[in-house]
Symmetry: C2
């Protein structure tokens, strides 16, 4: 795959689900000019906490996690992003997050300064980013409630329900390891594992041998567990 193909925005996979959905084809041309595609493998670090914040990007495909780290090295995942999501902090001097690809991910990169210029010219783009940022803020606040107040079992239950909301079927393909889930939910690997086992014993979920594919057999039971 060639590193750059800005002219193909009109048949981009996320043409209608990303920030770009706010622009018509003509308007999109200006963004097109400054964009550059880049594939990153699972595990790759996209940006470092404290870096100079030179880039913004749309996620074309794949998924990644946003992380913060304490002084003594503990990690907390503060957000998950996937197809159509935006990453970056326009108008901020330095990044405050580390982003790591959970799976092979295709990014559509924009130099931050250029992106800011385009945004100033395209009010609809700025509006779309504002709405997206407010949604992210709501999610981050919802997660504060989860992390501060919910039991381990309730966190796992909410997590599975969140994943179910996207796919409409009764089964979920976990995009991440037990360790990643723990980082996201503020739990250890062991606790995550134990909760999965208990849900299986209770007949609420079933998992394949790898543990990555979960089928939810009793959604109602999960929902009642989700706010302990």
């Amino acid at each position: 795959m060639t590193p750059s193909q800005p002219s193909h925005c009109h048949d981009c996979l996320i043409r209608d689900s990303s920030l770009c959905a706010s622009l018509c084809d003509a308007e999109l041309a200006t963004l097109s000019k400054i964009s550059r595609r880049k594939a990153v493998p699972a595990g790759a670090v996209i940006s470092w906490e404290g870096d100079d914040n030179a880039l913004c990007a749309n996620i074309v495909s794949g998924s990644l996690k946003l992380m913060k780290t304490t002084a003594d090295g503990r990690e907390q995942t503060v957000g998950l992003l996937s197809d159509g999501d935006f990453i970056g902090q326009p108008f901020a001097e330095s990044g405050s997050l580390t982003a790591i690809a959970l799976s092979e991910t295709m990014l559509c990169l924009y130099p931050r300064a250029s992106f800011e210029r385009v945004m100033s010219d395209q009010p609809k783009l700025e509006r779309a980013l504002l709405e997206r940022t407010m949604r992210s803020l709501n999610e981050a606040r919802e997660r504060q409630l989860t992390l501060a107040r919910k039991s381990a079992k309730a966190r796992i239950a909410s997590f599975l329900l969140d994943l179910l909301r996207d796919r409409s079927s009764g089964s979920v393909e976990l995009p991440m390891s037990r360790g990643d889930i723990g980082d996201y939910l503020g739990l250890t690997i062991e606790t995550v594992s134990r909760q999965f086992t208990e849900l299986k014993s209770a007949g609420i979920i079933a998992a394949d041998r790898g543990g990555r594919s979960i089928s939810v057999d009793d959604v109602a039971a999960l929902q009642s567990l989700a706010d302990d």
Copy 2:
């Protein structure tokens, strides 16, 4: 005090620290026309989770907390606002938060629909709101780290350091009760109280009899505790 005095924006207390700082006097006139001041007493509920989200506001003076509630009634404060901060969700259909005044608070209210119209006419205003929203998102993510990973002592220490950052002296007037602090830090009243007494015994802080006025005697010690 009259309920409405839109023409006095130019000598408003938060003329230069709120969203309004993004506008020149002439531009501010349009906002002025749709604004209405309102004083609310400590403890007053500003908006309910699930309400119709009809209002936005700047906080002129005072302070308030933003709360979420679990299905079974536990509460979590997901943000604190004070002078110059903005509250409201333009372009969203329903509010997802309950706001409660921590002290007597003066609001500068805008009907949401009108505010959205002014924002569309004033790109600088929209830009300012975007930057403010991104800052709030960073704070919310920082708090995820605190709530998920830090010990009770570290949460209290970080909390005090946050308050110190604003006032420049070595002492802090707590704007809230032990219970409010617990709601904010994801702890119980008892745990908050115990941590304060331990910090006092260690000679790191001193408090008056009411416990609301704290003087920090050893900032370095607090900082080293802030990431356990």
